[in-house]
């Protein structure tokens, strides 16, 4: 059974059709990358899937909980790193304190941030902040994790550390949907790629299929990136 199933999704902003009949499925353990030119509706699709926007038509079915990693982190600045990660599991999910803290410390260790537990977000680099926000999302134990351009707010030398974290998660069979402009990363990590253009899925398939596609818009998009 699919973890996420989107059927015939439609969304417009004041008359402008941003998503025109989008359907997709995400299987357990799958990594789906969404690529496409600016304004093609990638973020809107993600925001509809995570209930930040309401679609006008179509259905979204989930099997389980989901999390979202934002482009600009959106950490809570008044909470320490540890509290950013533990607060929702404690306050929202009402889980046991020692269990939550043990898990949070383990997540911090995985993200290479063990020494930053008591720091505040402003004291961290962009890459560190993004790793905290990934840990915060993971602490809720989501079945699916969405990423909206998780590296595009970062200096180029910091994107690598985030991509590495996502790769590691993929190796652990975390189900992920990633909007990205990093083509090599999409090629290497994704099981399935969706190419969006002007609110529709213009091309999709395995990385080989998509990057070898004869689709005119796809070629044009890749050509523009390589220039």
């Amino acid at each position: 059974m699919s973890l996420l199933e989107v059927k015939n999704l439609k969304k417009s902003f004041d008359g402008l059709e941003v998503l025109k009949d989008i359907s997709l499925t995400v299987e357990q353990g799958e990594v789906l990358a969404i690529i496409g030119p600016s304004g093609s509706g990638k973020s809107t699709l993600l925001r509809c899937c995570t209930n930040l926007e309401t679609a006008e038509a179509g259905e979204i079915h989930y099997d389980g909980e989901f999390g979202l990693v934002f482009q600009n982190f959106n950490l809570f600045p008044h909470f320490s790193v540890l509290k950013n990660i533990t607060d929702a599991p404690l306050r929202v999910q009402k889980r046991k304190k020692d269990e939550v803290f043990t898990e949070a410390r383990e997540l911090l260790r995985k993200m290479g941030l063990s020494d930053k537990a008591d720091a505040y977000p402003y004291q961290l680099s962009g890459g560190q902040q993004q790793r905290v926000s990934i840990a915060r999302a993971l602490a809720m134990n989501p079945q699916v994790l969405f990423f909206d351009e998780p590296t595009s707010a970062l200096d180029p030398e910091l994107t690598g550390e985030i991509l590495k974290v996502i790769k590691d998660l993929a190796a652990e069979h975390m189900t992920m949907v990633i909007v990205t402009h990093e083509m090599n990363f999409a090629k290497n990590v994704a099981d399935h790629i969706i190419f969006m253009d002007k609110g529709v899925i213009a091309e999709q398939g395995t990385p080989e299929q998509v990057f070898g596609s004869e689709n005119e818009r796809m070629r044009e998009f890749l050509g523009r990136l390589s220039n």
């Binding site: 979202l68 008044h78 929702a88």
Partner: protein, 216 residues
């Protein structure tokens, strides 16, 4: 008449001034938050009502508002007003006036919060009430503290307006003493009092601000 006896006489007025100050803050700070909610409400009539309220409270003199609160019950309903009502009228007048100013300060702070904070909270499953009081409001407090400090300092000086209802606060007593003794000394003592009061308030607010400086 020596300084000491002037200060002793002014002392009781001082306590009344402090009482007005504290009560005003205790009532107007929460009331202001409620009014700012109304002002930002999606319910149009409620929003409009709050808008008019804030506009009137900020657009007319506090002194006049105090008199309306005090004499209003008599002129409107023919209720006999007791002298005990004086102090209550002062508290009500100050609280509803300052609440209007605080409401606008809260609104500015709340509206300046980035939408990403709400979205992150929503994704993590916080309820609307949890999101506001746990995530948003603590950050709003930090942002608005300088504006609140301004209002609080103005309030210290504004407490002297209670003299219009002949409440025996600091300034009222100083005025009576100056008139009966024909000396400036009570006024000077009163000035020193307000100045020191404000100095303490300023230091207190600065402490609070630096306490919230643990994050940015």
């Amino acid at each position: 008449m020596d300084i000491l006896s002037i200060v002793t006489q002014l002392g009781s007025g001082m306590l009344v001034s402090i009482e007005i100050f504290v009560c005003t803050l205790v009532f107007s700070l929460p009331l202001g938050l409620v009014i700012s909610f109304a002002r930002m409400s999606k319910i149009k009539p409620l929003q409009w009502l709050a808008k008019v309220y804030i506009s009137v409270m900020r657009g007319t003199p506090l002194m006049l508002q105090l008199m309306v609160v005090y004499f209003g019950p008599y002129y409107l309903f023919g209720v006999r007003i007791s002298t005990a009502y004086r102090m209550i009228a002062v508290m009500i007048g100050f609280a509803i006036n300052y609440a209007a100013y605080f409401a606008e300060i809260y609104r500015g702070g709340i509206e300046s919060m980035p939408v990403g904070q709400y979205e992150a909270a929503k994704l993590l499953g916080y309820s609307r009430v949890q999101t506001f009081f746990h995530i948003i409001f603590p950050q709003v407090v930090k942002r608005i503290l300088p504006s609140v400090t301004n209002e609080v300092i103005t309030l210290v000086k504004d407490t002297s307006l209670a003299f219009v209802l002949a409440v025996a606060e600091m300034f009222t007593i100083a005025k009576q003493m100056a008139a009966s003794q024909t000396t400036m000394v009570p006024f000077v003592a009163a000035a020193v009092f307000y100045y020191v009061f404000n100095l303490i308030v300023a230091v207190g607010m600065e402490k609070l601000e630096s306490k919230l400086n643990y994050y940015r």
